[in-house]
Symmetry: C2
Subunit: 340 residues, 2 copies
């Protein structure tokens, strides 16, 4: 396989670049005329660290790499714009495999209105994807950062939590009664799994979708701070609290658990609240907003993004994150640390 041959095949398959891209893949750089403010984020996914090739199809891996990157733009309330891809190709992935992977990525790009505007392909010891995504807004002030939460704000979360962590337990075989050691060693398309609920949990792990519409709706509805849940609610809440200089109180009983999380947690001998707060990778959005804007925000999310919004706590003066369990105890929030 030649680098230039692969690039030529990739370029052929890319749809026409959308505005503001004036010149896409194939020159020394892509040319764009943003015409407003941009939000830029980078994310890397590496085989054995962020995914396992035996658990995911190649299109799933390509789509997940883009989804994870776009999730950061969702957390800014940005309109997705361009994506730039670094693909590190291991010895056992051929040109057709690369194309399959990129097809998964371009499908999600089309679904979200993202232009794949450039990239670099190289050999690598393990399949490596590094994505840079650029989102847009008319003004810099339109973006929602992590740092504007005020004491008195309501703390809300989109969608449901714990699904990705439960899906991971299922893939590892530890969330399945009787075990399933085969899942470790060979790729089983999760569409072959008979149990609809398990299939859905595994899909939440392997096929996350960025909450772009919900992020824009929350920004428009007056969110004061926002972050996406990549490391787990506990850890990401700490980031938001630290950046805003506030404390957060989270009511564990209010957390919207995904269907099946309780069963998988029970089978694995784990606490479902822990899956929801420390598991990570749900790629939902955590936001703060004044309580009087909550009803309108909930309606807007339902209407514009078909996403539920759940109030899970409040912003208080002080610092740190407290997760209150139903019994009155508190849970120490931990997050997923990629180097830990």
């Amino acid at each position: 396989m030649g680098e230039f041959e692969l690039l030529a095949r990739v370029k052929e398959r890319l749809p026409q670049a959308g505005p503001p891209v004036r010149l896409g893949s194939g020159d020394d750089a892509a040319i764009s005329v943003p015409g407003g403010a941009t939000a830029t984020s980078v994310d890397a996914l590496i085989d054995g660290v962020h995914f396992r090739r035996e658990w995911s199809s190649l299109p799933q891996i390509g789509a997940k790499a883009l989804a994870v990157a776009l999730s950061d733009l969702a957390a800014m309330g940005a309109e997705p714009g361009e994506a730039y891809v670094v693909l590190g190709v291991p010895p056992d992935l051929d040109e057709d495999g690369c194309i399959e992977l990129l097809d998964g990525m371009t499908a999600l790009a089309a679904e979200t209105g993202t232009t794949l505007a450039g990239g670099d392909v190289t050999r690598a010891p393990a399949l490596t994807l590094a994505l840079t995504v650029v989102g847009h807004a008319a003004d810099a002030e339109d973006f929602v950062t992590r740092s504007g939460a005020q004491p008195g704000d309501a703390l809300v979360v989109t969608g449901e939590l714990g699904g990705a962590a439960a899906g991971l337990l299922l893939l590892e075989g530890t969330g399945v009664k009787g075990g399933s050691s085969g899942a470790r060693s060979s790729f089983v398309p999760h569409s072959d799994i008979k149990d609809e609920r398990k299939r859905s949990l595994i899909a939440q792990q392997l096929e996350p979708r960025p909450r772009l519409g919900a992020g824009r709706a929350l920004a428009a509805a007056g969110a004061t701070a926002m972050i996406d849940l990549s490391d787990g609610l506990g850890g990401d809440a700490r980031h938001l609290a630290a950046a805003s200089g506030v404390g957060l109180r989270i009511d564990a009983a209010a957390l919207p658990l995904a269907a099946g999380v309780a069963e998988v947690a029970a089978a694995a001998g784990r606490n479902p609240i822990e899956l929801a707060t420390s598991g990570g990778e749900d790629y939902e959005l955590l936001a703060a907003l004044p309580p009087d804007l909550l009803a309108a925000a909930t309606a807007a999310l339902q209407r514009d993004a078909e996403a539920a919004l759940t109030r899970i706590g409040e912003v208080v003066a002080g610092e740190g994150v407290e997760i209150r369990l139903p019994g009155g105890e508190t849970l120490e929030p931990t997050g997923f640390d990629q180097l830990g």
Copy 2:
């Protein structure tokens, strides 16, 4: 080492973000207000593919990753703006090592006026750096692409060629009479090498500098097409010829060989012209421009960028690249293919 601890240490060491960056590292995304046109390019460097840790110091690796990315902006005639870094950390690189590497990168960022505006740190099987760089111009038309060369244009190159390839031969021990097998297995700071000329060639391999000033000067002087020499003159000339729909004739006798290339080539039993045309990694600029603009362009480069400009051939109707050797024969141009 924790991801968040490392990120905090990195953030501490970054200088204040320059305009147009409104919000740098530490949120879900960096915020920028470009105010004109942007050129964006991505480049990945992986241990064992693009560099060897036993040959380079960590600051050299960090600086080279940024230099290689910025070289693409130089080839657009862009003003460097922001850089986004993905750092994949192997098991044997500790937090201090990461900081050392990033110090090399930030030093070059400061030297070139580039803002390190964001990044992602993750575990990886081999040291991996993926850089996205964004450059600026008032209008999209101010950038010089690969595709505007016209028959009759002069073909010019900045600086000198073959130095990086000769430096690589020296590092491999094949360019040293009597051999130096030790160079393969342990890192020898090239500043310890007694021979000044060898030291300079090795520095050209390990410490390339992007031709940003020369790129801007060539754009302002009326260059019709431009590309940076990363894959080698032969291969990069083919890219420019194909993008412009023209042919290129290169006079091998006119190529400005770096000092010492001839000696190293002789010691290694290689043709110095081949090192200059197929070796790659010189990160000089190849440009086309109307012959009547050549004198002014040469003077501008000398004045603004302290870079020599050498006419090495011409743009002709047709297609393909012909490199004419002194004896009248032609050389088949080949380039370095990272997947080949």
